[in-house]
Symmetry: C3
Subunit: 263 residues, 3 copies
């Protein structure tokens, strides 16, 4: 039998002691925990990016997994720490909207404010709640402490406006770039299921300085010198370049606008 599974997703990077300290705290409380890194390389303070990365990863893990999400520009302020159950997965995070995509996608979710300070590390710092609050709460949960022990249900938790494309005129929609991945693929917020039907028609996607009207179903079959749109593995339309960096070619970054025009 394996112990409880705990994933970590933070903006702490890998050069400092931050991630290692969290792991030590977890294993000190729950020696049987299995700790898996989702990523520690979320851009500093990038709450939306962390939410997207979590949304792509959590369902790949088995039910019963605890996910610790710490991207926390408000650490030490009045922002609340929360403990969430959603579709038999568990989450601890600051209540800053980082779980918005989770709330949107899970069939069911329940949010608690974590108030039981007896589960915090003492003395608790004002600047490193990853080590002093989120890691120990996850670890105590993993040892079998019940959800209700950590605090009461709340309903006024933070949900960020999750931006979906808006129709700006007949045949024209304005969306945004959710993320640029390591390979330079430009991940938009146009959901593939809804939008790839336009691949058969004439369409033009404007992304930065470039207009893209070619679509593809994999990278390798495409020419190396021109951008194309593809239904990516994340569930959204992406702009890509075969073995090249599409984001650099188009001069765009996360948060930039993307327009689709269908004729």
């Amino acid at each position: 039998m394996k112990g409880p599974l705990i994933t970590l997703l933070t903006d702490f990077g890998l050069a400092d002691h931050f991630a290692g300290a969290m792991k030590g705290v977890i294993l000190g409380i729950c020696p049987t925990a299995q700790i898996i890194d989702i990523s520690h390389e979320v851009a500093p303070y990038a709450v939306t990016e962390a939410g997207f990365t979590l949304a792509q990863a959590w369902r790949c893990f088995p039910e019963g997994t605890m996910h610790v999400v710490v991207v926390d520009p408000g650490v030490g302020s009045a922002r609340r720490p929360i403990l969430v159950e959603a579709d038999k997965h568990y989450f601890v995070a600051p209540d800053n909207g980082v779980l918005t995509m989770l709330y949107d996608e899970a069939a069911k979710h329940e949010v608690r404010e974590i108030t039981a300070s007896r589960y915090f590390r003492q003395p608790m710092s004002r600047t490193f709640h990853g080590r002093d609050l989120f890691a120990p709460v996850a670890a105590h949960w993993a040892t079998g402490v019940g959800m209700t022990e950590f605090g009461d249900l709340i309903h006024d938790y933070v949900r960020l406006p999750f931006s979906r494309p808006v129709r700006t005129e007949e045949g024209c929609w304005l969306g945004t770039i959710l993320k640029v991945d390591r390979f330079g693929n430009v991940i938009t917020n146009f959901v593939s299921e809804e939008w790839q039907r336009f691949f058969g028609q004439r369409f033009a996607m404007t992304v930065g300085e470039r207009v893209v009207s070619r679509s593809g179903s994999n990278y390798a079959g495409m020419p190396r010198d021109s951008l194309f749109v593809i239904a990516g593995s994340a569930g959204y339309l992406e702009v890509s370049l075969n073995q090249g960096n599409a984001a650099r070619a188009a001069g765009v970054k996360a948060g930039d606008p993307v327009e689709i025009r269908v004729v």
Copy 2:
């Protein structure tokens, strides 16, 4: 008793959800698996670099380890996924030559084309076979599914021309740079066992803008301002600089030529 050991070697980086998603898929299928990262920081699409890194790492692991290697510029195209047994280690990878050094070094190897789509994640994307094909195949193997269940033996798998130094004239050999490591050590394809006998003679190694004729047996004993040749821990001659970056000093990168002249 520990569960089956699965290593990961990819060019996915650590900032995205890619590596985390693969780990989730593996643990969902085989909860007792132990997952160890070899590296996710192979340069994007760098098949030869990944092959070198694998060649340096796999024999350090115990027999029975499954190694998942995903550097896959041809994802979604007709390139075949393969499952390999070599000297009691196991490998899944795209059939793009990334395992060439393994084939050269193992006493014995057998290659199968993976065709049993019942072991793939559904629906399967065209762009993320790390999550949808390689991770689940490795995990099903780890639960005890026999090699023959995944597909038949093949013999026409891809082997890249593994470049060895060539003699260009009397006393002169032309080689190449396999890799530059984090410390700036320039790893050549001159095998130490064959070449370090020249350390006692007059030799000159030309690497980029520099000619190196000094050799050393460790870093710390060498002056800080001049390049030297050393029989490195990877089994090849390296050009190094004590606490400095030899590749930067010489202005070279992986793939560049290196010449040895013996007089």
Copy 3:
């Protein structure tokens, strides 16, 4: 029951095979070991930085943990490998002063020179003792080999001068920057417990081009455009910028001087 816990802290980076090879060697000798990365992204050869990172992390782990620390500019030279017991934690490292902060902080410590070459990997390289000496020694220890088997106690191990602030004139102290973290927080060597009492008075901390006289107790409550001093989670005064990079704003890096003047 979980197996023995082994942490890794090196300057090997994550792009090469180095960390993966160490893990393979450990698991080959001690298959039940649990391996946890503290960091592999210590700056190359940065012994003091590694010592600081270790000092921040080791106490977070449970007693009985073995910590493998390899930042080793003197690899292959006469520098000794050591095995240390301190407050029921265990350490292997080169004897180059990287454990100085540990010696200062632990209630009790014992240092042995590792001489038992029967526990080394053969053949042993002159340049990669992480794989060939430190990893196998840690793993053999983890299988139950007694401390005394590895070598005798020594007392002339290396301690680096651990720089504490010095008083340069009435009301003025000169310190140094121990580290800049991922977020740009400037971690000084002014211990918070001793120095935060000045927060109520008029003080001026000079760091690079900036003079800081404001203090805060968390990041989020502070204005985004001005530097402030905070008692950080590492136990030292830090100079920070709310959601900004204080080190870049002040133009400083690890090792630079910091002055406190109290009036």
